[in-house]
Amino acid sequence: MTNDPMTTRQIEPVIPPRPPGLLRQALDSDMFYSWRNSPVTIVATFTAAALILVALLAPWIAPYNPFNPATLNLMDGFTPPMSEGAFSDNWFLMGADHQGRDVFSTIMYGSRVSLFVGAMATLFAMTLGVGLGLASGYNGGTIDAVIMRIADIQLSFPAILIALLIFGVARGLIPPSQQESMAIWVLIFAIGLSNWAQFARTVRGATMVERQKDYVAAARIMGVHPALILLRHILPNVLGPVLVIGTIGLALAIIEEATLSFLGVGVPPTQPSLGTLIRIGQQYLFSGEWWILFFPAVTLVLLALSVNLLGDWLRDALNPKLR
């Protein structure tokens, strides 16, 4: 610049301070305040955190490895809770199942599978739905019409039916030798693909509102690439509702996985999830061995309920009209 206009007036340049640290910001936020004042949410947070922690640490903290045949004693089968196996020194907090596996340990390993499938499926649905929703809402026109009609068609079927259909088709396409190892990914794909439409619809609506706003116009005047406008400007402003659906969607995905596994089309028996455990348990319910069903079912309810309550709180906390 030949004639720097800044020289005409003397301004002592001061560098603006850096924003406060992330932890400080989080503790000062309205969200944290609303969390601290909701006892139900605090309980739900700790329940969910405990369940997730236990699931993550299962290989290190579980009393037995239920998938190691060496430690299993078939004769311990159907040991009631809080008692010692009849033919071994193993002590069973929640009893043993028909193969003599410790129910407590299988639940730990089972929630690991349930949570993994649920989280990955939700992440997949979220990425796909948010991406398509942004494209749909920002571009409008034909792209919007095509994406939204597909979403409409899909929403007119129950998610579980879609997942069953996708699961069946995917299974047919995979060679039998790989079916066992691929099963969990096929399941994630099926559940994820059956849930993207909610995300897409919400994000599309919010995007259509945001793209009309002048801050988007200001970025367009500067010639910022549309992809960057979507990513930097619009995405942060539509993320609130996405987080809410994502949290509630996680609970739904866990239940959906349990349903599929209960129906016998989910994860392979070598990697039982909570749903698989419940399916096994219900076979023995009427012969009096209630604990094989009861404890996995309670765990599933606790997990889904606490995550759901978190989602409810998030929805209220992010909605300024309810404050």
Partner: protein
């Protein structure tokens, strides 16, 4: 061109600018109800030039096409017809890549509502630094944060305000942030779309004075859009009066206020409250602006015009010597 000629040539030259919007119902509704396509000529054959370092104001009632012209100039909308020439360069479809970026750096826009024009999730530092990042290749390499601090000081805010979010400011302060962002990439041309109409009256003057100071300091050229005649009188060197998408009158600010020629301009000026007129009855603006979907034939102003005759009903007046009016042309007024 020699330097002297460049100096005299206008920075912005708008020629025959028109923009038509399709406001038809969706296809299926149209077929079912038998309705045809509907268009609105929001801007119709508007031509004006803006001299370097001056302020050109566009005034008009709501629906007169002021904001559409602003959006056409900065490229948010494509004109249906007409040309926009910025510093000798045609702004058309042909601009791509580095050339377009170089040109974009030179013009900016300030919006009506600063709450909407600042991203609510961004800190003020990031908002002001955005143009610096976008145009980093065309700017002298400096610490962007230092420049942000400088800009904040320039618009009368403090560097500490950089960490705040837009909602933590008052309306006037927010507009200052928007001005700082507009200035960040050192533009020489700024389109201001009603920059003060969303603000408290007490703050309006501060913002207007700030804009005038900055204009003097950096030699900025403004296109200033407003419906407020007092604001325009304070700011503008030249004024264009819009009526239903067409220019009714263009003149130097002083001349326009002292000797308005078009009947519409007279009507507007008669309606302005004036402290010296206290107690005397004010003439009201008669009638309302007609629907742009179904504009009256001939001169769009004829249903409200006291000097209307048969010719006004049939023939659209052309802009001759700064006035588009048959009555003035024929010497009837």
């Amino acid at each position: 061109m020699t330097d002297a000629e460049t100096e005299r040539s206008p920075l912005l030259d708008v020629r025959g600018l028109s923009r038509r919007f399709d406001v038809s119902q969706p296809w299926l509704n149209r077929k079912l109800s038998g309705a045809g396509k509907l268009y609105v000529n929001a801007v119709d054959d508007v031509s004006f030039t803006v001299a370097r370092g001056k302020t050109f104001a566009l005034v008009g009632e709501s629906g007169s096409g002021k904001s559409t012209i602003a959006r056409l100039i900065v490229g948010l909308l494509e004109p249906t017809r007409g040309d926009i020439v910025f510093d000798g360069i045609w702004l058309g479809q042909g601009l791509k890549g580095a050339e377009a970026r170089k040109l974009r750096r030179r013009f900016q826009m300030i919006f009506q509502d600063p709450l909407a024009s600042l991203n609510p999730r961004w800190r003020v530092s990031d908002i002001i630094a955005e143009p610096l990042r976008v145009f980093a290749r065309d700017m002298p390499a400096r610490d962007p944060l230092l420049r942000v601090g400088e800009l904040l000081a320039l618009v009368g805010l403090s560097a500490e305000d950089g960490v705040k979010f837009p909602h933590q400011f008052s309306g006037g302060q927010r507009q200052r942030v928007a001005i700082a962002r507009a200035l960040a990439a050192r533009p020489d041309f700024i389109v201001c779309d009603e920059p003060t109409s969303a603000l408290d009256v007490s703050v309006q003057a501060q913002i207007l004075n700030l804009m005038k100071d900055l204009q003097r300091e950096f030699g900025l050229t403004y296109v200033f859009i407003s419906h407020n005649l007092q604001v325009v009188r304070h700011m503008a060197d030249e004024i264009g009066v819009l009526y239903l998408g067409r220019l009714a009158e263009v003149n130097k600010a002083k001349a326009l206020f002292e000797t308005p020629r078009h009947p519409y301009t007279r009507m507007l000026l008669d309606a302005v409250p004036d402290i010296e007129m206290t107690g005397r009855p004010r003439k009201r603006v008669e009638g309302e602006i007609p629907s742009p979907i179904d504009p009256p034939p001939g001169c769009a102003f004829h249903p409200r015009c006291p000097f209307m005759n048969e010719r006004c009903r049939r023939e659209i007046p052309r802009l001759v010597e700064g006035v588009a009016c048959h009555a003035v042309e024929e010497g009837r007024i």
